[in-house]
Amino acid sequence: MWRLTERGDRCELALDLGWPEARVVVGRDGAARCAVAVDRDVLTPLRPHRAPPPRVRLVGTAAGVAAADRAELVGDHAVVRVRPGAGALVLDGDVSGPQVAAELELADGVRVVAGDPAAVLTATPGASLRLFRPDGTRWRRVAIDPGGLPIVGTSVLVVGDGAARRTWLVRGPAVAGGVVAPLLADDAGRRRRYVLGGSLPVVGWRNPHDLDRSLGLDGWVSVAAAQGALATTPVATPAATALTWHDPGGGDRAYCGTLAPPPPTEPTCTAGADDGVTQCRVALDPELTARLHDLTELVALQPRAFTGTGVPSTGAAFVLLRGDTGEILAEGDFVPGRAGSAYAPATPALGRALERLREDRDPRTGEPVAPGAGGESSAEKFDRHRAIAIGSTLKPLVARAAELVAPRLTSSMWIGVGATPATCRRRHRAVSRLLGHCPPTELLGRLERGGVVDFHGYLARSSNGFQAALGVLALGWPDGRYVLDDDELARDALLAIDVAALDRPLEVLRGDRRVVGGRGVRLGPLRDAPLWRRLEAIVGRPLCTLGSKRACTADGDRRDLCAARALPIAAPTADLRHLVALGPSSFDMYAPGGGDARTVPVTEYFQLLRGSGVHPVGSLAQLADAFNRVVYDPTEDGAFQLAASWFPAPAVGRVPAACTRDAARTETVRGAGGGLCGALRPGGTAARALGDLLDDPRVRLFGAKTGTIDTLADLGEQRRRCDAWNRAHTVADRPARAADQPYWLDCGAATPDDSLLVVAFAVVDRDDVVPLTLALHLERSGKSVAALAARHYIDAIAAYLVPPPVASSPAAPASTTAPARTP
């Protein structure tokens, strides 16, 4: 019997077949959708039996302040780190979320104090508590001495009576004084528990109905566990060059593209903690991540307060890598007005909502969504894998590739611009030719016109003209040929050149093969050129040559899985890759709609070199990863070893000489006087923002590069698209007029640029240093905002990683005064 229901502007016909139910939904616009509504709870038992994955406890890293925590107590809605020097806290039913405290009152007469070297549990006589410790395969109740019980290992604490009874999982270090890794996910009863919830969405979700359709790091680890692939010994994981995964749509793929990181030297997962649970650790430090996320939110909303310039950003993101290992210590983003993340659901109800969202059902009712409305909801969105326009932050990658191919040539090269540059026309405007080629936009500015630019100045002051010239000339290095009309030009004669003098295109050949012709760049010879091979090695991924941008985008989407190499999965599904992939597995420079698979116009090559959004090279995480290699990877020939990793990774990077104010200027990328340090010294693009850190004893700087890119320029000039943008960026609780809407564009006028920064620095910890790479991206915030904001990030990171010493509280007797209520 069909049942007809009218739902707003659509009509729903439902046929109850007993079970399941067939539904046809027809909209007024004619769009129709047919669905079979099933109850997953009914379906699950009908699936072929698959053993549930072994229990795995997912933990993060305590890299800074949290490394000194004495214990962690995990309750139903709260998780408390016992931290010397923190305040006091009464744990009642209202306390939620992550908390820190030096003294906890769990119930009347039951306290935990951050002693030295261990936290101590105390109880007054008659206090209601029961403590259970693992004993083989049993939980055994243990007594608490009058003087208190040091918290070591795992235990379960039940406090209170009757209506006030509460249960805590108490996690201490394996030995007193050790580090307690922060819990991210664990089994609790029959469900999977995500203690930090959507605050750390990359943790993902274990799908209880279909494990292979799980999400994020927890999904990844769970599938690895089910496949018996947990690397509880380092030798279980082969070298990354031998790692492949099967993609149903594209055969076998390399995990790590052009990279060759070594296998882990320590196990990612450890079996047989005292309660027998396998524990897998990710590199993320959740507390540092939360602080940097919240700073990102504040900066994105009020850039002027934090930097003195800029406009509210339509999207901001950060990535923090450990420089010597590539470990991803923190990453996150903020999109104004976006709903709370549905990932890493903290409660069963939120887990059900996520499940429904993933199946295009209403998260509240479970009903199929209306026709045409089945796209990602705000709570599902996750853009961090998206390739972005990285602007001038591409320059260090190209520069390092060229330097590795021919250091004598890079150190000798300089460019200038004469009084009468040759021009061509783009979009009805005259632009200066570049080595005779017509670029897509003007590449020569005040910097190039004001005098010569050398290799150091190119990086320190960010010369677009030098980047374009280097990108063309270095394709012939070290042994190529250069032809203008029929005349051959000597390679070294082009090392000091007026780049705008030629009115006919310079061609580059290697042997008999033309790499750069009069109108196009040939992709085959390009990929064989030493410069390009080194560039792909640094980027970590190859150029896509599938023939079209559409094919390349589809083929590479969310397929860079190198960061998950420590726990390789043979055939990860799209769901498993969804939050774990750092970005696309390749990049391309095909013109949109272009048809030639083997040759691209030179103008597209120039677009790639300027880091344009037309040919985005990678995501922010992939940019941070590549810049990390530029600064820290000592490799000079062959594949690079340093690669971003979600999991602990061995140190293969080397800390370079730090930037100083008085080091001699050198024509190199790295080094105290190199171009990346030049960016931080007077006259450099990051000098105003970060230059004073050269004198800060807390940090050492190794180099930086700013980026500015006009990703919205075209959109702002097209009225219809601009209006659509404004509709999609309207803040709901404000009047819909430009004066009240911070994210609207002024259609027809210039739009603010995106701002980026990559900076390599170390936090000084006594005689040791912690090398890091920070990448920031603020969409539509305006020039320089990322560099100016970076100072605050470095302050926050330094304060977290090297906190001032705190005198530990002595183990307090049970009879001391009860602590005051604190967060």
Binding site: G97, T137, V156, W168, L298, G308, S341, A353, S378, D733
Partner: protein, 155 residues
């Protein structure tokens, strides 16, 4: 040992702690062997303590999520007087840590009884209607907000 088993069984019977005692005296044969090889059963971390009613005299902090900002902006606004994140243009890392903890506590508190993430979409288009979203409007801090969360106050 029997005492321990009894104690645990008593707890489990209340429904508070779903704790299975592996190797208990009643378990025998293959089942016991299989379980001995396994890890300890996971615990259902539960509580019978309901959230304190809003009328509780305990000091609390009210966070109002407004505009396009999220929990951090709401926490920073609430703590603006006693823990400003910026001092003379410089970041105060300790204040940022306080803001961050309050924001995280608010996020988890808001989600405790929610059936979808409590923080609603506050900008852009509703995918179902194609029109600007209409988040809830609640009274908060003497004005209106898209979300109001009350959490225990910092000292």
């Amino acid at each position: 040992m029997k005492a321990a088993v009894t104690a645990i069984a008593a707890v489990a019977a209340t429904g508070v702690l779903a704790l299975v005692t592996l190797g208990s005296l009643e378990v025998a044969g293959r089942r016991a062997e299989a379980r001995r090889a396994a890890t300890l059963e996971p615990l259902a971390l539960g509580s019978t303590v309901p959230p304190t009613p809003a009328s509780s005299p305990a000091p609390s902090r009210e966070l109002c999520v407004r505009g396009a900002g999220g929990y951090a902006a709401a926490a920073a606004a609430t703590l603006a007087t006693e823990a400003p994140v910026l001092h003379d243009g410089h970041l105060d890392p300790a204040a940022l840590a306080t803001v961050s903890r309050l924001a995280a506590a608010a996020a988890r508190a808001a989600d405790r009884d929610a059936v979808v993430p409590a923080l609603p979409q506050r900008a852009g288009l509703d995918p179902a209607t194609g029109k600007t979203v209409t988040p809830p409007v609640v009274a908060c801090g003497g004005g209106s907000a898209s979300l109001r969360v009350v959490v225990p106050a910092p000292p």
